[in-house]
Amino acid sequence: MYIGVDLGSRTVKMAVWDGERLVDHQIAASGFEPHRQAEKMIAGYRAKRVVATGYGRHLAAEHFADAVITEIKAHALGIFHYFPGCTTIVDVGGQDSKVISLDAAGRVMNFQMNDKCAAGTGRFLEIMAASLAYSLDEFGRAALGADREVQINSMCTVFAESEVISMKNRGIPRDHIARAVHGSVADRLAGMLARLGHGETVAFSGGVARNPCMVELLGQRLPGVRVLVTGLPDIIGALGAALHGAGV
């Protein structure tokens, strides 16, 4: 058994690889002590090697992990497992968004990451959902179902929130605003992809890839490109860490 643990800004993800396939996974909130949360999650397994990734990777190494790799490398390994041949990854997590380009063998060639703000991240979507009184699941669904898209100009979370409030107060329906928020994140991701360059397929990973509207709008902004998503986009990083532990 090889275990990968991804200690992210919002959730801890765990993936178990038995040398041939993914045999188990878990996702839990990070809490105040993410390493303790992670320890609980791996407690029932006898792992040959535990590899940590994510923001808490070094904390995990202090407590239990045998090795650490960055999220960039972990997502590269995880996506290469599911989609060999796909050379571009968009990973949107709680606190970061990243675009990664790989060579044909799955090695990281280049990457870009958002700067020190929440723009274009899962956290941004969460804050915007809250200000529109949606749960996160409703938020994506409502945005997907909206028949019109208005424009949000600001990418800064603070300013975008003011913009959303002023839209509400102009009587714009909230599903239209929801779609606009998603659109602004998709624009930002498409911009990062354009700067880095991308292939004909783009794999979308991280928790935000579970949002159907994000997948739809990202595809719309990348004409001719197929956006690939696995059934479990959240655990790609954890799986990549487990694969690294197994020497894949």
Partner: protein
């Protein structure tokens, strides 16, 4: 084992005489001591000659300030600057002291933001805040500040700074045509006149020739240190290398030159005996871009904390400060001033357009330093370096050089993200 924390020496009476905010400054002193302890003294296997530079940090707010005040008492001018385009030779020739002013700390930024706009360069804000908050003994000790026109934030902030401390401005052109060089020479002459006026003496040809020799010797010592850092494995950490480049801006030049050369002798011994500071296989990284003013060790801490080593800084606090020498064969006051201006115009700051020399220089330093990748660092809102990044990136792509661009400021809030990016960059180089 108890570890004695590193202490920046306190001189509360002298600080009070300098009209400083002493209680606040004393807190900053303790924080700097802690930071230095953590970043520097925790390093293993440092060269013995670093003791001198440790002491320069311990006495940064004391011993060196005393020297400045003693010079002033003798009627020698003490001039604060912010840019490697201000010709130090002229200040030295007049018997004066030229110091680079404080501007590398987040601590003074809130003081500046009470007055200046927030969305400008952190170095300008930090520097301005040090004066506004009365928390930099150098700022309190100088006769005046000589600024320049190398960016919009500085250019316009001088007008505001002038209300707090007399501030003069040297016009640095933005192109390097003959008519620009003519203007530049005239500006150098104006600077000389101003310095002579404050010093109350006329600079002779001998004065200037001697000052040029002193500064050339200092630059040669720094060049020597830089080329020793290029040895693989490198005999000194990047943090220590950067520290010396930072101290170069406030130490007495002749003494500093002696100490840098002594360090270089030790480093040569280390190379002979195959003593390497980081692990022998440590990934070698070169930094290019905007200056890292004391105590901005953010990138170096992250890179070297991840087990890699920085072997070159292509920066104003780095090679741009010392890569060019003044031709010492020039004679006569006019001839020497022309030679001096010729040297200063070789500095390839991104405020010039076009600035093709810098692209070539970055690649050259990458090759010379035997680095394996380049981190291009730009301070936030530094438009010229931020935009020139596009050309540096293209050149690195063409040359197949692993490349990472970081835009950041002095705050700690992006440390997590930067750590991930830097570690991923090192993984990428390692693959």
């Amino acid at each position: 084992m108890t570890v004695t924390p590193f202490e920046i020496k306190a001189y509360p009476e002298m600080w009070a005489e300098l009209d400083m905010d002493v209680p606040r400054f004393d807190k900053a002193r303790l924080m700097l001591g802690e930071l230095y302890h953590k970043s520097y003294l925790s390093q293993k296997n440092r060269p013995a000659a670093m003791t001198y530079f440790d002491n320069m940090i311990a006495e940064i707010h004391g011993g060196r300030i005393k020297e400045l005040l003693a010079a002033k008492a003798e009627g020698r001018p003490v001039i604060g600057t912010f840019c490697v385009y201000i010709p130090e030779e002229i200040v030295l020739a007049a018997g004066g002291i030229c110091v680079g002013l404080c501007g590398g700390s987040q601590g003074s930024v809130p003081d500046a933001e009470k007055i200046l706009p927030r969305n400008i360069c952190p170095m300008v804000k930090s520097a301005f805040g040090f004066k506004a908050g009365r928390i930099c003994p150098y700022f309190q000790a100088v006769d005046f500040v000589y600024g320049e026109t190398t960016c919009d934030a500085k250019k316009k902030s001088w007008e505001i700074l002038d209300t707090l401390v007399p501030t003069y401005v040297m016009e640095i052109p933005q192109l390097k045509r003959q008519r620009d060089i003519d203007l530049w020479l005239a500006e150098v002459k104006d600077f000389k006149t101003k310095v002579e006026e404050v010093a109350g003496k006329t600079i002779t040809e001998n004065d200037l020739a001697a000052a040029i020799k002193i500064m050339n010797a200092k630059r040669k010592a720094l060049q020597r240190l830089n080329s020793l850092r290029h040895h693989n494995p490198t005999p000194i950490s990047g943090k220590d290398g950067l520290l010396i480049e930072q101290i170069a801006f406030y130490d007495e030049p002749v003494r500093f030159t002696v100490e840098v050369n002594a360090l270089c002798d030790e480093l040569e011994e280390r190379i002979k005996n195959e003593v390497a500071v980081p692990a022998k296989k440590a990934t070698r990284v070169m930094v290019a871009g905007t200056p890292m003013a004391l105590p901005n060790w953010k990138i170096h801490n992250l890179v070297e904390g991840a087990g890699a080593v920085i072997v070159n800084e292509e920066s104003c606090i780095g090679t741009r400060y010392f890569k060019d020498l003044i031709d010492e064969s020039a004679t006569g006051m006019e001839g020497m001033l022309v030679a001096l201006t010729d040297r200063y115009k070789e500095i390839d700051c991104s405020c010039f357009t076009p600035n093709n020399e810098r692209i070539t220089q970055v690649i050259k330093e990458f090759r010379d330093s035997q680095a394996q990748g380049i981190i291009n660092y730009s301070l936030q809102f530094c438009h010229t370096y931020n935009i020139e990044e596009i050309r540096i990136r293209k050149a690195c792509e063409q040359e197949g050089i692993p490349y990472l661009f970081i835009e950041s400021d002095y705050s700690a809030e992006d440390i997590g993200q930067l750590q991930t990016r830097i570690e991923a960059f090192l993984e990428q180089i390692g693959e």
